[in-house]
């Protein structure tokens, strides 16, 4: 399966300069992709466009070569395949306890209660949340919330998972857990796209890097080819 952006332009209403300008990318199943760039360079915009929250004014987003249809059915089909985990888990955990939250996506996809329950248990197992399913959401720790947010998307069994700067609040131990989870997902055939500022991670983890600057693709390719030269902030010496 392939997710393709062809010459995508996205502008926010009331903004002169578009947030994405002529973006061309292609993401294949099972790929580990890193999305890098300064704050405001358009990473989140790209993610929202991939999920159909934002619609390109020009160009097209395509699933397996088919342009996305922006009607109810087309969007449902897109969101079944493309999941997004946002930066702040508190923005995406809606219900009073974990079990119910994980069931939200599957039920939205029109699955029966029995199927939805199956999906919930499976996603919880994947994310190591099985023992927390009956816990009130607000009582979870930061790491548990992050995993719950991922599980809520995994319960929809996406083929492309976009993760927007989720790792930044997490301590190194929890981060490691979450990264391992993302690796497992990629091995299982789900493409994982990680927006991050952690260049060390990008160098070791990613198979493909998409580097945005002011809404345009600055460079993309294998980290060893892309992350070189004076533009890389991590190649300069110590700051003092």
């Amino acid at each position: 399966m392939k997710l393709t952006f062809r010459d995508v332009h996205v502008a926010y209403p009331g903004r002169e300069t578009p947030a994405l300008i002529g973006v061309n990318i292609e993401i294949a199943a099972g790929q580990r992709v890193a999305l890098v760039g300064r704050n405001g360079s358009g990473k989140s915009t790209l993610i929202l466009t991939a999920n159909g929250i934002l619609r390109p004014q020009q160009g097209a987003v395509m699933l397996d070569g088919q342009p996305v249809q922006y009607d109810r059915r087309g969007l449902a089909a897109l969101r079944r395949c493309v999941g997004v985990v946002f930066q702040d888990p508190d923005d995406q955990l809606f219900t009073a306890n974990v079990y119910q939250d994980l069931s939200l996506g599957p039920l939205n996809l029109g699955l029966s209660q029995a199927e939805a329950r199956q999906r919930v248990l499976q996603a919880a197992e994947q994310c190591g949340l099985s023992h927390l399913l009956d816990r009130p959401t607000h009582s979870l720790s930061g790491g548990e919330k992050a995993r719950a947010a991922i599980a809520g998307v995994l319960a929809m069994t996406p083929r492309f998972l976009f993760v927007d700067e989720l790792l930044h609040h997490l301590d190194p131990w929890v981060r490691r857990e979450v990264l391992r989870l993302l690796c497992d997902l990629a091995s299982a055939g789900c493409a994982v796209v990680l927006a991050t500022h952690d260049w060390a991670l990008v160098r070791t983890w990613a198979q493909h890097v998409i580097w945005l600057e002011a809404g345009r693709i600055f460079r993309q390719g294998h980290p060893s080819a892309v992350l070189t030269g004076p533009e890389c902030p991590d190649l300069e010496g110590a700051p003092c």
């Binding site: 929202l48 999920n51 929250i53 109810r72 969007l75 449902a76 969101r79 079944r80 999941g83 997004v84 946002f86 702040d88 508190d90 923005d91 995406q92 955990l93 809606f94 219900t95 009073a96 306890n97 974990v98 079990y99 119910q100 939250d101 069931s103 939200l104 996506g105 039920l107 939205n108 996809l109 209660q113 939805a116 329950r117 919930v120 248990l121 099985s130 023992h131 399913l133 009956d134 009130p136 959401t137 607000h138 009582s139 809520g152 998307v153 929809m156």
Partner: protein
């Protein structure tokens, strides 16, 4: 305090009991207080509900007392108006305040005590429900009672995001505190105003992010979720 109530709701001996029993108990007591309207009945209800909460449900009596005390203080302030009588001419034992005579008569005092006890009994009855029943349980039950879906969803969201907002409030208060925002009365007033305004903006922004997150999960207008009673419960 609010957080404590919530913690007890999940961690008391009755938390797993069907909410209908607890709501039944609570409502029955509430009605008894309101309908009988006798100080004695109110006291009996009060004692009974306190006993149920502490002995049956096993909520520590200190917590129950603290909660009741807080609520009682409000009620006390409320019934003050009933206890005091104001008249243009002096009555026995009254004092003059700005040309009017303010006093307490036996009748008004008795009335104030009756209202206070009645309210306190009712509050104790509701405390029992609040301290023993997890909110998701209550919502699920309301849903089964065919309370309109929108209302139940709204209650669920409010419950969930009360905690998120409290979190933000905590962070903001701290941020003001480290910059001496509460060093004087003036500063406190200003800080409180700034925090209030900020909290409102944050809540608004968050609601926008929430909508995006909901849509990204193929949301189509109603927040349908599985009943939480079906959640597997590990033995802890």
């Amino acid at each position: 305090m609010g957080l404590q109530i919530d913690a007890f709701a999940y961690a008391n001996r009755l938390s797993r009991l069907h909410p209908a029993y607890k709501a039944g108990c609570s409502l029955l007591a509430l009605c008894a207080c309101l309908v009988l309207d006798r100080p004695l009945a109110s006291v009996i209800v009060l004692v009974l509900m306190l006993a149920l909460t502490t002995v049956w449900a096993g909520v520590p009596w200190r917590a129950v007392a603290k909660l009741l005390f807080a609520e009682g203080s409000f009620l006390l302030a409320g019934v003050l108006g009933i206890a005091l009588t104001v008249s243009p001419s002096p009555t026995p034992g009254s004092v003059s305040v700005g040309g009017m005579w303010v006093g307490v008569s036996a009748q008004s005092l008795a009335q104030a005590v009756a209202v206070f006890l009645r309210a306190l009994g009712s509050v104790a009855a509701l405390n029992f429900l609040a301290l023993t029943t997890p909110v998701p349980d209550l919502l699920e039950w309301l849903r089964r009672l065919r309370v309109p879906e929108v209302l139940v969803e709204l209650m669920g969201l409010i419950y969930r995001f009360t905690f998120v907002l409290l979190d933000s409030l905590g962070h903001m208060t701290l941020a003001h505190e480290v910059r001496l925002g509460f060093a004087s009365q003036r500063a406190t007033l200003r800080s409180a105003a700034l925090i209030g305004a900020n909290l409102f903006i944050q809540a608004f922004r968050r609601s926008q992010r929430l909508e995006v997150a909901l849509r990204s999960r193929a949301w189509n207008g109603s927040l349908r979720v599985l009943p939480w009673q079906d959640a597997p419960r590990p033995q802890r």
